[in-house]
Assembly symmetry: C2
DNA sequence: CGCGCTAAGCAAACATCTGTGCTTACGATG
DNA sequence: CATCGTAAGCACAGATGTTTGCTTAGCGCG
């Protein structure tokens, strides 16, 4: 009764494995009591064999980067509200909601952790960040197409994006009410020639 | 003359060890080709035995936290310039200069890396951040004592501190000229109603 | 229906990291 | 100058992380 069932092994499809591993990363990063993030732990929580993780992703950095890009694309369905202010506000509200959840903060942390000190670190980081900022660029482009005059990207980074990152990293909750409006109004009020169309 | 000199071991003083290890952390974090940060590597580069590191600090997180606080205190001799604007500008200029160097960016990265997902992570992060923000608080206190009316801490975080962190993390160099002034003027110009100044 | 490809699972070797008992250099103290 | 406490260095053991060779489940294709 005991011994021989060596071929009873079940296996999940590559997509299932991928999703389970991604979720395990987020769980470990957000939920539990400070367990440190490593591949054996991730594989265990995902219920897959750790060799599958090693062979598919090769390193923790690569896995984190893959997870982050997948999740960010999946969770960025933001779209045209008809005005620059509306678009920025929608972005800010989504960000505020996101960093109130442990999972949202974990994603931001993962963005940072996934960037190693590689020789081309600077470049990779910049590139990664560009992709992350794609939605902001889209908002600017749409505004320009409408005839609006959006602030330069740098200013949006400084006044809108940066506060959310800072708060996500250090776990500082944004003010309970009106925070997205506050940041957006500050941003648009000081453009110099903000004039919504 | 080869073999027997088992007692030829030389040793360095605790302070030397401490300084060497701290420096090794910064070096590994900033300089080289993406080697990952771990205690054996740090000890090797510092030229000390790894057991010394384990015994003194116990964990990489603790070592990073110790290094960060030591360095930040050492490198924050900022002081009273006589006005709120002057103090903020001095802080901003020092920050801008710092994040232009690999070592400065490494310090910021270390601040973030040294914060584990511990159960009380949220609290610890907030506390750590408070200490990091001590100089900002001082600036506010001095301003109040002078009769000036400084912006609330949250606003200084959003408009002055956050941009520097974002840029340090992602390796985005600040504009070559006038950046500290830009941020400080924006901050002080919008203290009340957005239409002011 | 059989073939072959891809990738998951398994086990075991291999490498690296972490921790411990001990010795001993160095500095302080009297 | 003798003694003592602290902490660095050494060697080795144990735990954990990483990699490899192999088998085999699932799936598309002829």
């Amino acid at each position: 009764m005991t011994s021989k069932q060596p071929t009873a092994r079940i296996r999940r499809s590559p997509e299932e494995v991928r999703a389970a591993v991604h979720q395990a990363v987020v769980d470990l990063l957000s939920d539990p009591a400070g367990e440190d993030l490593n591949i054996p732990a991730i594989a265990h929580r995902a219920g897959v064999n750790h060799t599958s993780v090693y062979r598919r992703w090769g390193s923790l950095d690569a896995l984190l980067a893959d997870m982050v890009t997948t999740r960010l694309e999946r969770d960025s369905p933001l779209n045209d509200t008809g005005s620059l202010r509306g678009d920025l506000l929608a972005w800010a509200k989504a960000s505020a909601a996101s960093i109130r959840t442990a999972e949202g903060r974990a994603l931001v942390r993962a963005v940072i952790l996934s960037m190693p000190n590689s020789p081309q670190a600077q470049d990779e980081r910049a590139q990664h960040f560009r992709r992350r900022m794609h939605s902001i660029e889209q908002i600017r482009l749409r505004a320009t197409a409408r005839g609006e005059n959006p602030p330069p990207l740098e200013q949006i980074l400084d006044q809108l994006v940066a506060p959310f990152y800072l708060r996500a990293i250090f776990g500082i909750d944004p003010p309970a009410t009106g925070y997205p409006e506050l940041l957006v109004d500050r941003l648009l009020g000081t453009t110099g020639a903000p004039g919504t169309a």
